[in-house]
């Protein structure tokens, strides 16, 4: 166990609890490493003693001394160790995850879990919706972010392992989670409460940006919303004509559907379908053609009737920056 520690710590996954980029995740990673190391020592001692007891020959220990082994090994030592550990962790817990809302949030985002994707809404100071996005959040480094976590249909769980521990999204409740991202980068988070057939195909991406870059992104998204989407006229036409707008919204167009993810900013995402496949023309076309083949159980129907050229036009339209 001890030998594997360097290997564990050196891991650089986008989705690893040990590759930390946020204050809560950092606190917890330390705790994990320390308790795992302590646990390894305890294991070696106890199992060593057990093997010694099994293998030793010669005069058996007196019953009274054996009783002392129980008292010390079974009660005194574990109780003291656990007491220290527990006291340390319980007192440091409010610092790891803020207990009360002491400070004002720099950014506030409402995230709603849906089968099998994430609805993301950036809020202003008064709690009004600035704009809506899906399956990706962008966060400023070094700022406090307050997440309002809800669920639309079933229980989901929000987890960005590199930034913080998880928090469930439960219908009828709003859970609060504070993030304090510290390191710029791309991080991934899967849904961690089993939520149905395509639970596996529900993940999100978090981009931690420099505060400046974050501010200009917010600026761009908020203003782009007011100007109508430009050309790619054929694609937009096809998108509307095939009824995509009944479920999906593209801000500034007639597509105002609320059932599915908002596709306005799809072009800047790495993946489509909440992490289901790559955001490239073939990925987008396959998804529109038959989403259920990629995300079984997804609400989106198959569209066998859309012809190839329309399909390509829709894909190009969605993939183009606006």
């Amino acid at each position: 166990m001890i030998l594997t520690l360097p290997l564990i710590i050196s891991c650089q996954g986008e989705q690893s609890t040990l590759n930390t980029a946020g204050s809560e995740a950092e606190d917890i990673a330390h705790l994990i490493v320390v308790t795992a190391a302590a646990g390894a020592i305890v294991w070696v001692c106890v199992v060593g003693l057990m093997l010694f007891a099994a293998a030793r020959r010669g005069e058996p220990m007196a019953e009274q001394s054996a009783g002392l082994v129980i008292a010390w090994g079974g009660v005194v030592l574990p109780a003291s160790l656990l007491f220290i550990l527990l006291a340390y962790v319980l007192f440091s817990m409010p610092a790891t995850r803020p207990w009360f809302e002491k400070s004002r949030a720099d950014v506030e985002i409402e995230i709603t879990g849906e089968q099998y994707w994430w609805r993301v809404r950036y809020l202003d100071e008064r709690g009004n919706v600035l704009f809506e996005n899906a399956n990706e959040i962008r966060l400023p480094a070094g700022r406090k972010v307050r997440l309002l976590l809800r669920a639309h249909d079933v229980i989901h769980s929000f987890w960005l392992p590199s930034l913080a521990g998880k928090m469930d999204m439960i219908p009828g409740r709003t859970n609060i989670l504070w993030l304090e991202p510290e390191r710029v980068g791309i991080y991934r988070g899967p849904c961690t409460e089993f939520c149905g057939t395509s639970h596996t195909r529900m993940s999100m991406q978090a981009l931690v940006l420099e505060p400046q870059a974050f501010a200009s992104w917010v600026e761009e998204v908020s203003s782009a919303r007011k100007s109508p989407a430009d050309a790619r006229a054929h694609g937009q036409e096809a998108f509307l004509q095939h009824g995509c707008g009944a479920c999906h919204a593209i801000d500034g167009t007639a597509a105002r559907g609320r059932l599915g993810p908002n596709l306005t900013r799809l072009f800047e995402r790495d993946r489509i379908g909440a992490g289901a496949s790559a955001n490239d023309p073939s990925g987008r076309m396959a998804f529109v053609r038959n989403a259920g083949a990629i995300k079984p159980g997804a609400l989106m129907p198959a569209f066998p009737e859309i012809n190839e050229s329309d399909l390509r036009a829709i894909s190009d339209y969605l993939g183009a920056a606006r």
């Binding site: 564990i8 996954g13 986008e14 989705q15 690893s16 609890t17 040990l18 809560e24 606190d27 917890i28 705790l31 994990i32 308790t35 646990g39 305890v42 294991w43 106890v46 199992v47 003693l49 057990m50 093997l51 099994a54 293998a55 020959r57 058996p60 220990m61 007196a62 019953e63 054996a66 009783g67 129980i70 090994g73 079974g74 574990p78 109780a79 656990l82 550990l85 527990l86 962790v89 319980l90 817990m93 207990w99 249909d153 079933v154 229980i155 913080a164 928090m167 469930d168 439960i170 219908p171 009828g172 859970n175 991934r188 961690t192 409460e193 089993f194 057939t197 395509s198 639970h199 596996t200």
Partner: protein, 840 residues
Amino acid sequence: MTWTISAPDETSRDRAGEEARLRAVWSNPPGWRYWTTVNNTQIGLWYCATAFAFMLFAGVLALLIRVQLATPRNDFLTAEVFNQVFTLHGTVMMFLFAVPIFEAIAIFLLPPMLGARELPFPRLSAFGFWSFLLGGVFVCGSIFFDAAPNAGWFMYPPLATDKAYSGIGADIWLLGLSFIEVASIAAAVELIVGIMKCRAPGMRINMMPLFAWYLLIVAGMILFAFPPLIAGDILFEMERMFDWPFFDAARGGDPLLWQHLFWIFGHPEVYIIFLPAIALMAMIVPTFARRPIVGYSWIVLAAVGTGFLSFGLWVHHMFTTGLPQISLAFFSAASEAVAIPTGVQIFVFIATMLAGRVLFTVPMLFGTGGLAIFIIGGLTGVMVALVPIDWQAHDTYFVVAHLHYVLIGGMLFPIVAGLYYYYPLVNARKLSDRLGKFAFWHMFVGFNVAFFPMHLSGLWGMPRRVFTYEEGTGLDVLNLTSTIGAFVFAAGVLIVVADVVRPKHRQPKEEFNPWNAGTLEWISEPEENWGVRSIPIIASRYPLWDQPELRAKINAGDFYLPDAREGYRETLVTSVLDAEPIQCLRVGGTSMLTILSAVALGGVFVATTFHWWVVAGVCGMVFIVAVWWWLWTGTGAIPEHVDKNVGLGLRLPLYVSGPASVGWWAMFITMVGDGTAFGSLIFGYFFYWTIHDDFTAGLPGPGWVWPSISLLLFLAAWVALIAARRANRAGSTGVTRLLLGLVLILDLSAAASALVGPTTTGMDRVVHVYPAIVWILLGWLVLHALVGALMIFYCAARSFRGLMNREHDGDLVNVVLYWHFLTITALTTLTVVGFFPALR
């Protein structure tokens, strides 16, 4: 000891005749009728074999999971099938293997271990077994029709209440398992009464073998842990079938209530599984350390402590649900605290080994190997019980690793140790040492290769219950390693199976007590069905070590009940603490009724799953008739004599009633479990009250008038019943019958008036959770009132047929006990629904 002992009367002994009569009384019926036997040895073996078969089935499901996850983006199983497979794997392992296997082992081992002929309710054990078999086949079979439950073994609503997602599978889970829970509770009643009342004379409670102590604790835990789940199942099924919105947030319900009820069951369940395995270790270690256990009181107290604490930990399954941190801190501390009694138990074994001369046999190999694995699980348990670590580790493969280290190390390895240890009691031969060691190393290495990497895959971000993962995330190598390990582990399990099933008729039979153990179960002879030849007097914790000549005297029939002259199956009932003999109990023999009632009850559950209401109704009637017949012909018979010479000059009554009787205890224990289920429903009522500002949502309640009328009628019925019992004891048969009639009328009117309130105010169950929870409480009460009415009717019928009289009033006394509980239920329900809304 207050009972007298005189020397056996040697002159009139005919030992061969005694043995022939005993053998005839206890024999299994021939031919196909063998399956109607109710003998604990047979039932215990069937039970073990069935539970093992379910374990192998669930193990195959685990291998399917591992094949699917061997490589990234694998398409060996579709998402739909995968979700059914992992749900069924967890469900079967927990409900059809881990808990039942101990009931099975206990039913097999306890009678000889306690020095009893038989546990007090052999027919109940048989009924439990058949229920378990039918329910298990029903639940497992569903996957072959693509209809298995698919929402996880924890069945969280609203996913599992969504009919479009979960189809019939969720109903199969809820009803199939409720049926099996009935069997579990039946077994718990049997074990508690058996351990408390059927020990050999002199086996005071502080001399009980540790296995019996553990099973007593575990059966008590089952009694308090399973009912909350049954209550949850009822709410769940009402939502699925009739749209009562208990877990629907839009109509005032809350999905978290299910999580509370499920984990109030689910966490004690872990210790219900773990403690009996430690109990096996507590039998094995002293034998091979060749000395009595060191710290008998330590280990008993630790086991009791673990049992108590285990009920205060359930919220650690809910650390990420957004509960206030102050309550998380409380449950975190409680979860850490349970490590201490667990540690004590491990150190008791180490101390016993240190103070003894250890023989390192195959059972010890599996036992210590299992502990080495279990300790890792315990230590990762200490980690995840720390709230912040759980925020990261919860629902990841880290927890998958943790729980398998706990359950396989703390339960499966000790079970295999127990199998190798106790197999000579099954057919007088040992299993193979060579194959055992071979199996152990496959299982030990395979297990660690399979599960150790999961700690890492969890920390690297792999959530549980995913059917695949992406390449390049570092998870590929870890998962492939796990899959290889899983197959090595499975090979080890197969070697154990091969060792058990290989023909052994050429192998010579072992001597008596081949391991030279000290406890009484080794007195049992595999060829005989009678448990012990005669019921001994015990004066030590390790009687085979400390009481010389014990075996010879037992087998010579020198102790109690060496004969079966009247042709009944008889065993001794002793007092709870000091094990002083108080009754010669005649237990039920071979009967078709056990199978018939299990099949009928199974029919009720299966038909309800498919909404075949007529079939369900017919099966329900058959069940009631079968149980009636069973009780009428098999219990409370008036014996031909008042008492009987059980040997050694001791005369014991053949009939007792009230707290001296096993029936009274069984009723009491059953009703404690029933009361726990009721308490869980009341918990639900107040849970809704706490989460809403106005939990009635402005809807009308049942008012206070009708609940008050109903309550008065219930109280009157209770008073009349107590009067009836007194009249019966005074010998006034006419008054007794009259009063029983009055109770019947009062009870039925009370039940009817309980329903008037919510009917007249038009409480609509579908609209909001408030009317729904009121209806469910009243429904529970009315159902119990109807069962109570049946019992009154039964007593009246017994009285008219002359089967119940002044001296033989056990039925009536037990029914009065039921009515005490019914009256508490009525008082609580009607006060809460009638008056609480006004007090708010």
